[in-house]
């Protein structure tokens, strides 16, 4: 059973962080929310495994 990885896996953390913020730059609040929803689905599909995804959801809850 795969547990969520909690140590750093970023190949370029600052680069990603900047890109994520930049992606929202020209968006309204409504457009940002819609963008985030699409991004979540795209990224979730990269993981795929239902159990792993469920654990990630639990992690995000707090």
């Amino acid at each position: 059973m795969t547990a969520p990885i909690l140590h750093s896996q970023w190949s370029d953390p600052d680069g990603f962080y900047e890109a994520l913020l930049d992606a929202h730059q020209s968006l309204s609040d409504e457009e940002s929310v819609a963008f985030n929803a699409r991004l979540i689905l795209i990224l979730a599909n990269q993981l795929g495994d239902a159990e792993l995804l469920s654990q990630c959801l639990q992690l995000a809850k707090k």
Partner: protein
């Protein structure tokens, strides 16, 4: 104090509102009332098996019991099929239901009257988002029956009534209504009203097939889970002069319906079934007004299309599931079947079809007990198996309902994200949920299944050749077995069946405990049997789950409802005996009565 407006909203919440039906309507048959002798004599009748409710589930059970040679009485408070003046109702019949109807002898009529389809397309806005072809999917491809046939519900009910009349054994009593229920002297006791007077009846086995407003739930204080929503639809059965393809078309967001959902299906008699999603909590009286319906149809099919409205009705739904499929009423047992056991959201054809499967599941078990072959504990498996199916179907359909009627805010945002991605990328199409089409639910917790089998699956109605070369199918073997367990044996090559096993199978067959048949792939195989069939392509083995090619010797035990109870490579007495033991309600740790 009741307010008229809130009354009609409440009706929409709890029922399918047929009160506002319009259009020329269907002409439904009217049957003669049946007045039992007890009305005149005052005697209390006793029945071994009493079925309350003459809908899909009740009629399928009565027909199955009749075919198995078991007497039963079915009471219906009405004298017609469907509901007077009402609609097409459940129109998509699954392969499994069609296989059951084939076993009962009404499939040819359904095939002649109904519309076969296997392609479904889902649209959002102007774009097609998703499509499927059920013919291409493996779990449908081995059966003699197609993936789906669309036909109005009352046709299937009418065919069942006529088949029951042919078979005898089952007595349908039209215009017999249950007015009260009690447990007296440990027996389920019914007060019944007919047009000619009242009578009382008791029964050992009661089947509640009364539908989504079962009075038994209150009478027996049944615990259940229910969920209501504000999703509202308007159904229109129409004929028009254009001919769309015979496919299931669903729009998540239809530009011609205020960006709400639309379903489009063809049924018998060239009548189309169009379902329009309405605004949440919409007023049923307004949405089903003829002028508004015509406006919607004109937007969808063009103003020049000539439209004939056959029936219109508003629709609301809820989901519900009893916690136990069987209740005790003194020493009597009450079985919940069809909508009285569970109500599902209407997406994916999991309503009527599940009721039909409930009936097919119980029939052979009741027959076994009543005919003295099986212990009453066998009946407990109806709960183990059909409750799992009910819970699964409620869960799956509620997920669809949530996709089609998302809550405002985040749920709607995720749906928009899904649709946007699905238009461009395959991965997101798996999330688009306009109904997960019903399948024969497998059983994972059944006490009747061999422990080595993780799942008991329904074996498709596979075609083969009889020894004389004519065409046959699994249903004919099941009809021959008439409720008994059916054992398929494979023994290719020079090997004969092992001696002890052969003797045991011969003895059990002679005693009328099983039916067994040898399945041969090559006609020149050395070993032959009186009861043998030819399956050159090995499709029966495939349907029984022997996926990695057939071992030299193998067996499978199939129940009367087509479900696989046990199988194995190598034919061994102890394995077969254990499997048969289980199917007769005998097991080491007997399941307690619920």
């Amino acid at each position: 104090m009741k307010n008229d407006v809130s009354n009609s909203y409440q009706a929409a919440h709890h029922t399918n509102g047929y009160e506002f039906s319009q259009g020329t309507g269907y002409v439904l048959p009217e049957y003669e009332s049946v007045i039992p002798e007890a009305v005149h004599s005052g005697a209390v009748e006793h029945h071994r098996i009493l079925i309350v409710g003459g809908g899909l589930a009740g009629l399928t059970l009565a027909c199955s019991l009749a075919q198995l040679g078991v007497d039963c009485v079915l009471l219906d408070e009405d004298n017609t099929v469907g509901v007077k003046g009402a609609s097409s109702r459940g129109i998509c019949y699954t392969q499994k239901s069609l296989e059951i109807f084939d076993k009962l002898g009404i499939y040819e009529r359904i095939k002649a009257k109904g519309i076969q389809w296997s392609v479904g397309r889902t649209f959002a806005g102007e774009d097609e988002v998703y499509s499927f072809d059920l013919k291409a999917q493996g779990n449908f491809s081995l059966s003699e029956q197609p993936a789906f046939i669309n036909i109005q519900q009352f046709y299937n009910e009418g065919y069942l009534v006529e088949r029951i009349q042919e078979l005898g054994k089952a007595q349908i009593r039209w215009n017999n209504r249950v007015t009260a229920f009690a447990v007296k002297d440990d027996l389920a006791t019914f007060s019944l009203a007919t047009p000619a007077g009242k009578y009382t009846a008791t029964a050992d086995f009661v089947i509640d097939a009364t539908g989504s407003r079962s009075p038994f739930h209150d009478w027996l204080k049944i615990s259940k889970t229910s969920k209501k929503g504000d999703d509202r639809w308007c159904i229109a059965d129409v004929r028009f002069n254009t001919h769309p393809p015979k496919e299931r078309h669903t729009w998540i967001e239809a530009p011609f319906n205020d960006n709400r959902a639309v379903w489009q299906h063809l049924m018998a008699d060239d009548v189309w079934r169009i379902d329009y999603q309405m605004a949440p909590d919409a007023d049923p009286a307004i949405v089903s007004r003829e002028d508004l319906v015509r406006e919607r149809l004109a937007k969808q099919f063009g103003a020049e299309t000539k439209v004939d409205i056959v029936w219109v009705g508003p629709y609301a739904y809820r989901s519900e599931c009893v916690d136990r499929m069987i209740a005790a009423a003194g020493k009597s047992m009450v079985f919940f079947m069809g909508d009285s056991a569970k109500v599902v959201s209407p997406f994916g054809a999991r309503g009527g079809n599940t009721g039909i499967a409930d009936a097919d599941n119980l029939a052979w078990k009741l027959a076994g007990v009543v005919q003295g072959r099986a212990e009453p504990s066998l009946l407990n498996s109806y709960h183990a198996e059909r409750h799992e199916a009910a819970v699964t179907n409620v869960k799956v359909t509620n997920r669809t309902a949530r996709f089609l009627r998302p809550q405002d805010g985040m749920e709607r945002i995720f749906r928009s994200a899904t649709i946007a991605l699905a238009k461009k990328h395959a991965f997101a199409r798996s999330l688009v949920n306009t109904g997960r089409m019903a399948v024969a639910n497998p059983y994972s917790k059944s006490p009747l299944t061999a422990p080595e089998l993780a799942l008991s699956i329904s074996v498709q109605n596979v075609g083969f050749e009889w020894a004389n070369g004519s065409a046959g199918c699994l249903n004919q073997l099941l009809q021959w077995a008439c409720g008994l367990p059916l054992i398929l044996l494979w023994a290719e090559g020079a090997q004969a069946l092992p001696g002890a096993e052969l003797k045991m199978l011969q003895a059990l067959s002679r005693e009328g405990q099983i039916r067994a048949v040898l399945v041969r792939q090559r006609k020149e195989a050395a070993f032959a049997a009186t009861e043998q069939i030819h399956d050159a392509a090995g499709r029966l083995a495939q349907a029984c789950g022997f996926s990695a090619g057939l071992p030299t010797q193998a067996w499978a035990l199939i129940r009367s409802d087509s479900y696989l109870a046990a199988c194995g490579s190598g034919i061994r007495c102890d394995a077969i005996q254990a499997a048969l033991f289980r199917l007769h309600g005998r097991q080491k740790n007997a399941v307690d009565m619920p």
